[in-house]
């Protein structure tokens, strides 16, 4: 971003106005102002999302796709309108490519169970990186156990970056699928998706992108990324839990068998055999998370009212500030310093275990995550059993980073 664009972005951004939209940010914990630095685990919700959910339940609620009466039609149209919002948000070609799931985890399991069991055979290779979240690891391990396919690993550099040359070494003629995070939930590393797509497609493999963190921090255009599947969860994107999205290319989704059977996903049901509905209904068995989907639509509307370039510049400034200030804490080691990283920062402090730090910080009102962050292979590679992690969202402030640093220095005095 050039200087002029950056200063324009600053003008368009008022973090206090954004904070005023998030009711929880004005509460106290342990009698201290809340400093919420765990948005990568789950983001807080703006009033606009909370009110949409309340209105949906109190005024417009009925089951979808079923009743020939006003409320069901209204509920159905709100639910389907949210699908169109998702489509536009990620620039998918068609709403038939937008499959609702209960989250990114279910979306990946869907692809592993449906695409994986239909098209991946013994000896075929699936390429993952060391930094994958367990939800983009365990489903492939299950597939390996079921089919005898092979998992191949692309390793991570010490600073947390991932090199395209390393993908080039691992992707080969046996590769059927590459499954990678867009942005690491531990390190903040942004992966070079377009280049990975080129390598995968050159050998006829498909590319699945776990966009849980990626979609939060930058605009996503699935066509420009040139991936084949893109998944994310609503709750990290300022929306409700219980809703996520699988985007897939229509031509691929069409060839995939259903994931679960039940109501809403059928065309005909008979003892002689059942036939499936078209996309996306084929993958949406049972009563869906109706209000959750509508809430996700409201979260997308909320994000769309912001200047996304300005939000990205704000988050970029926050991570730069954190990278500068955190090393003031004696004995602190930053984990994940790849160039261009997103606003997620792991660290360890010599002599103080991350869990103890998190417990002590909590008493100062500061919420950070401690543990393996569902990334045990990465922890192993980094040679740590756990890290502490602070993550920043559009409502985070520099003052909160100051509070984090002050609380860390105090915690260290108690623990070390």
């Amino acid at each position: 971003m050039n200087v002029a664009a950056l200063s324009q972005a600053k003008l368009n951004f008022d973090v206090e106005r954004i904070r005023a939209d998030f009711p929880i940010l004005s509460r106290k914990v342990h009698n201290k102002p809340l400093v919420y630095l765990d948005s990568a685990a789950s983001a807080q919700k703006p009033r606009q999302v909370i009110e949409t959910i309340t209105r949906a339940y109190s005024e417009d609620y009925a089951n979808v796709h079923r009743g020939a009466y006003y409320l069901s039609e209204k509920s159905t149209s709100d639910y389907e309108a949210a699908r169109e919002k998702v489509r536009a948000f990620i620039n998918a070609k068609s709403i038939t490519e937008i499959v609702y799931t209960k989250g990114a985890t279910e979306a990946i399991n869907l692809v592993a169970a449906s695409y994986g069991r239909a098209f991946i055979k013994e000896g075929d290779e699936i390429v993952l990186t060391t930094l994958e979240h367990h939800s983009n690891f365990v489903p492939w391990d299950l597939l390996r156990k079921a089919t005898g396919c092979v998992l191949r690993e692309v390793t991570v550099q010490l600073d947390g970056s991932v090199r395209i040359e390393d993908f080039a070494k691992v992707i080969g003629p046996r590769t059927k699928l590459v499954a990678v995070a867009h942005v690491s939930n531990v390190l903040g590393t942004v992966l070079p998706i377009k280049e990975i797509a080129k390598l995968a497609h050159a050998v006829g493999a498909k590319l699945l992108v776990d966009g849980c963190q990626g979609i939060v921090h930058a605009e996503v255009d699935v066509q420009a990324l040139d991936c084949d599947f893109y998944v994310f969860s609503g709750h990290k994107l300022y929306g409700p839990t219980g809703i996520g999205v699988l985007w897939g290319r229509e031509a691929i989704l069409d060839t995939m068998p259903p994931y679960q059977g039940g109501g809403d996903m059928i065309e005909t049901v008979a003892f002689a055999g059942c036939t499936w509905a078209g996309l996306p209904a084929k993958f949406e068995a049972g009563t869906p998370p109706i209000v959750e989907a509508i809430g996700l639509g409201a979260a997308i509307d909320y994000i769309n009212t912001q200047d996304r370039v300005a939000v990205a510049a704000h988050e970029h400034a926050l991570i730069a500030y954190a990278l500068e200030r955190l090393p003031e804490v004696p004995g602190l080691r930053l984990i994940g310093t790849a160039p261009g990283k997103a606003s997620v920062q792991s660290f360890v402090v010599e002599g103080a275990h991350p869990h103890d730090l998190a417990t002590v910080l909590d008493r100062s009102g500061v919420c950070v995550r401690a543990g393996h962050h569902c990334a045990q292979p990465l922890m192993e590679a980094l040679g740590v059993s756990a890290t502490a992690r602070a993550s920043f969202a559009m409502y985070s402030t520099q003052a909160e980073i100051d509070a984090l640093v002050a609380a860390l220095i105090k915690a260290r005095e108690l623990l070390v």
Binding site: H30, H355, D356, V360, H372, Q376, S385, L415
Partner: protein
């Protein structure tokens, strides 16, 4: 609140991180593998990835001749393992199991120190020290940190090989 009190840690933090806990956490006793061990088990807290391996040499008469642990973890789990291994050397397997129940009671608030000492009178002094672990009561997510090494111990004495805090 006086100016002085404001700079102090909240009381529940002080009772969690008492001097004795921090001391055992930083300078753990019996951090090794028992030579010629007869029993062993690994404890695993899948929520945080903390791991502890307990080894013991138990005599045919059921006396714990030596007890030690290896592992990585937070101050609470390491201190707990260190105090546990210090307390139980020379005691019977049967006393160790009663002490496990007493410590669990202390950590969850179901027992107080006197109650625990009545249950395991032969380890009354050790319980006086182990009472420091009861600071975790105010921190529900940390109770498992304190009990992890004990789960591994019981599994080890029962001849199992793994224990988890998620049962």
């Amino acid at each position: 609140m006086s100016a002085n009190a404001q700079t102090k840690e909240p009381d529940d933090l002080r009772s969690l991180y008492q001097e004795i806990i921090l001391d055992h956490g930083k300078h753990p006793r019996n951090l090794r593998q028992v030579e010629n061990f007869t029993n062993q088990a690994k404890g695993n807290n899948p929520m945080c990835g903390d791991k502890v391996a307990v080894t013991a040499r138990v005599s045919p008469a059921g006396v714990i001749e030596d007890l030690a642990f290896e592992g990585k973890g937070c101050a609470i789990s390491i201190a707990s393992a260190s105090m546990m291994t210090s307390a139980l050397k020379g005691h019977s397997v049967q006393a160790a199991k009663r002490l496990f129940a007493a410590v669990q009671g202390l950590c969850t608030g179901k027992t107080d120190v006197e109650g625990a000492q009545r249950e395991v009178p032969e380890l009354a002094n050790a319980i006086g020290e182990l009472a420091a672990l009861s600071g975790v009561r105010q921190f529900p997510t940390r109770v498992k940190c304190a009990t992890l090494p004990w789960h591994a111990l019981v599994s080890c004495l029962d001849g199992g090989d793994t224990a988890t805090t998620e049962k």
